[in-house]
Amino acid sequence: MSHGSESQPLFDQLLFEITTEELPAGLARSALGSMETLVREQLAQARVAHGAVHTMGTPRRLAVRVSNIATHQSRLEERKMGPPIQVALDGEGKPTPAGAGFAKRCGMDPSSLIQVETDKGVYVACDVVMEGKPTQEILGDVLVEVTRSIPFQKSMRWGHVAVPFARPVCGFVALLDDTVIPLQWAGVTSGRQTTGHRFLAPGPVVIPHANQYEDCLRKHHVVVDVGERAALMDARMEQACKDAGVTLVPDEALREETLFLAEEPFALVGSFRPEYLQLPPTLVVAVMRDHQKYFATTKNEHVATEETAPLAPHYVNVVNTALRPGDITRGNDRVLEARLRDAQFFVDEDVRKPLVEHASQLGRVTFQSKLGTLQDKADRIAHILGTWEFEPAMPPETLRLAAQCCKADLMSLTVGEFPELQGHMGAYLVEQQNAQGGMDPQVGQALVEHYAPRFSGDALPTTALGQALAAADRVDTLVGCFAVGLRPTGSADPFALRRAILGLWRIATEGSQSFSVRALCKAAHDAHRLITQRPATQQVASKGDGKSKGQLASWEDTWALVEAFLDSRLRAYYGDRFAPDIIDACLTADAWAQPKGLLARMEALTAFRAGPGAEKLTVAHKRAFNLTKKSHVEDYDEQLLKEPAEVALQQVVTRVGRTVTQQAQALDFAGALDSLARELSGPVDEFFEQIFVMSEDEGLRHARLQLLHRVVNTIGQVARLERLGG
């Protein structure tokens, strides 16, 4: 099959617009991305050559422009194979009924059958040529297919319409230059008429030619090009801030959202009473951003983040119209005032009680029915933190307080109302309490930090206590869930264990503390056994929660599951940086005990493999490994080894073994691999050259195999080279 490549005259452009009722702001961007892909796919499938594809959109429309469209589909030339020649043609070379039938099915005259030699003999064939139809005739179907294929996270039906879309579809503009492409979908037919801004230019807007689309809409207060609208919005926000003497606190997610909440964005600056700046800044920002979609501002001229900038009592509101900016701002100020007053009420109520008093309510809330209450969780975290080796040491009182209070703010009215304040509210309460003295200030920061990392790429906790608390919280959930059979399946991961385990791993590998993930898991399992499974009589009295405790799997069974999960997650996590067999060779039991070594190991092995000594050492290791894999490490009598090659290997393995152990402990894996390659490869080779391992003499055979075990384990301290490919 081939596409005809003769140059064709072109249409200048195709413009397709779907107008809708207001789309969810979060869906528009990805819908436009899908639309571009679909347009390309559908046009390719329809054999229509074209140039650039550009998407545009607002809350009420999704649009795409395709430039330089071929006037016709490409010619399709295709050779269709028919029956063997002896079936298709008679003795005189004329088509048999079978041959004629084949030609007919191809839409060709029987005289056009040709003969083709293949591996299986001579067959008849038809070279079919399909002339391209005019593009205009097929575009309607292409565009309907694009429209109905746009994927949405959630879609809906409306009225009697049976086909789904993100929101009701109101109309289509489909123009090939100045000609309407007729199409119909969801009971709506296409034309050249769209709508202007809902309030600033209501009514129909006629698009004479595809190339006038943006201009026509711009005149009707719709800035349909996303980039152009973003620039306009930014400029107007900056101007509004300048006029008010404040600086915008940037918020990329909010900017993206507001961009799809207005067809023409206007920026208005509103204000609130300065006394609300006494509230936790995170709370003020949350009220403005999450509930009202306002940007925070600061008096500082240069701003990094909301966390560092002191807030100003002003906000930037991006709106969709601004005929009477004063009225709109007055209305918004009043709404914000009511919300901040509400927030103030919650904070005032919460501050009346010290954080530990909030913590005393944790026993009333179930964490998970098989894993006890939040109080149980806090107790387990305390146990796990108790096993943590802090450098320098941490006062036990601080650890106890951090564990006891890390979930306490979930009991506060403020977090009940603003869940995004979790951690921050705890820190705020610590701070308030510290004004009267009494709590270790490290605790406050750890309470905020222990929720990090919240997503892939998020920053880690910065303090030692924050990291330990974050790790303890995650390992508790992880080990607990696996121990009572709550494993993630397919897309269902209600406890976000996949995220938890990677968070834990990042703390272990990138954090300032060194710890063994395996030992931490063991501590968590002990905590579950000691605390969740303690007899019901010792439980904090709480209704019904004592009965349903799940059976805890043994440590060995639990660890096997956690290890397999960790293994599979890490393969995915490191998969884009290291070859699969490198990961495979380095993911050993040592990796769980010494997480920080894993990266160094994989890097060293990757570099080593590219170098000169790798092949020899790998071959040596594999030979030794293959011979030993059916036996176990046991004691053996060194005196039985008398041949020079085996005596030499015995000595080298002892010496190199010591060096490599030291190097591995110092995470110097490049050095270790170098030592092994330099010193061990030769003697192993020599050994295999000279010695017949599988001796008739059982004692001797045993000693030789055990010597090889020592070789395998010495190399295995660095990596399991037998898993390397090639």
């Binding site: 009722e21 207001e22 789309l23 969810p24 702001a25 979060g26 809350p59 959630k154 809906m156 039906r157 409306w158 009225g159 009697h160 319409v161 049976a162 086909v163 929101r167 009701p168 109101c170 969801a186 009971g187 709506v188 037919t189 809902r198 309030f199 600033l200 909440l261 207005a262 009202q292 979609k293 509101n317 709106v319 969709n320 119209t321 601004a322 005929l323 009477r324 009225d327 709109i328 007055r330 209305g331 918004n332 009043r334 709404v335 914000l336 005032e337 009511a338 007053r341 509400d342 009420f345 009333r364 809330v365 179930t366 029915s369 709480s542 209704k543 019904g544 929660d545 349903s548």
Partner: protein
């Protein structure tokens, strides 16, 4: 515009649009959606247009009359248009014009808001409508009710009457609203808020409500003629839907839902129990939805007879 004028204006507007005007449901509900004029009428093929005020009770939102914005009983204005018309948003904006706001002078926006009622087994997609940053209405295209696909789709508009009135009257405290020109909202509701908050949070007899919940749940199943089948699941034992008493049964669902809300406010349910109650209400709500639909079918969907032929709508059902 005082509070009752606001209601009268909306009544007139939606009456002019051809809606039936009905009165609030005679039992405690958390929202106008619980009224059978919404929950049951949204099911099946029959067209239906209705509007009503629904005094809505949310026991946990009570603040003893102290909070200027929160009430344990507030008023929704509910409009149901089935099938949802193509100009639903325009009709809504016209209704704002009718109550004296000029949308083009304000920032009116439709912000995504998906609605789900776990107790009713119902969900839909739509928006909250913002007027200068204030959420004044909810706008939902019902996709499912009682676990049954809504065909055709019903459009639901819910106006928060107190919010809108506060905006129109330019007051910051709900109790300062003028109910009529002579009497304030505070006069009508403040004492009531204190009494009900005290009752909901402190005095309601939890044990009595737990018993009532069980009894209404039981009664609901009886009225629908439900029996436990061999697998221990509840199934319809009464084969003739016309012999089931669907409306009284649904009344029991509404009562159970409110009893649960009260128990919740009273702090008498643990997190796990909460889920259990929600599941129980959903189960009987679904049973009512199914029975109501079979009943209407058995009656030959009476409202289809007077309906204009569906081909009049360009968005009519497609092959």
């Amino acid at each position: 515009m005082n509070f009752q004028d606001l209601i009268l204006t909306l009544q007139q507007f939606w009456s002019d649009q051809g809606c039936l005007l009905v009165q609030p449901y005679g039992s405690e509900v958390g929202a106008g959606t619980f009224n059978p004029n919404t929950y049951l009428r949204a099911l099946g093929p029959e067209p239906y247009q209705v509007a009503y005020v629904e005094p809505s009770r949310r026991p946990t939102d009570g603040r003893y009359g102290d909070n200027p914005n929160r009430l344990q009983q507030f008023h929704q204005y509910q409009v149901i248009l089935k099938p949802s018309p193509t100009n639903l948003q325009e009709l809504y904006l016209d209704s704002l014009r009718a109550i004296g706001t000029t949308p083009q002078d304000h920032d009116v926006r439709f912000i995504e808001d998906d609605w789900e009622s776990p107790t009713l087994g119902a969900w839909g997609l739509g928006w909250q409508v913002w007027l200068d940053g204030l959420e004044i209405s909810q706008f939902t295209y019902f996709q499912q009710c009682g676990g049954i696909d809504c065909k055709p789709v019903t459009g639901e508009l819910t106006y928060g009457l107190e919010r809108i009135a506060m905006y129109l009257q330019n007051v910051d405290n709900v109790y300062d609203l003028k109910w009529s020109d002579r009497v304030s909202y505070g006069e009508m509701a403040k004492r009531s808020e204190w009494e009900w908050s005290t009752y909901n949070f402190e005095r309601a007899d939890a044990e009595l409500h737990v018993q009532h919940f069980q009894q209404y749940e039981q009664q609901c199943r009886q009225l629908l003629g439900m029996e436990k089948n061999a697998k221990g699941h509840w199934a319809h034992g009464e084969p003739d839907p016309l012999k089931r008493l669907v409306l009284p049964a649904y009344d029991c669902v509404v009562k159970c839902s409110h009893l649960f809300n009260l128990l919740d406010a009273r702090g008498a349910t643990s997190v796990t129990e909460r889920q259990g109650y929600i599941g129980r209400v959903r189960a009987i709500a679904r049973a009512c939805a199914e029975s109501w639909l079979s009943q209407r079918e058995a009656m030959g969907f009476p409202l289809l007879k007077d309906a204009p032929p569906p081909t009049g709508d360009p968005r009519e059902a497609r092959p």
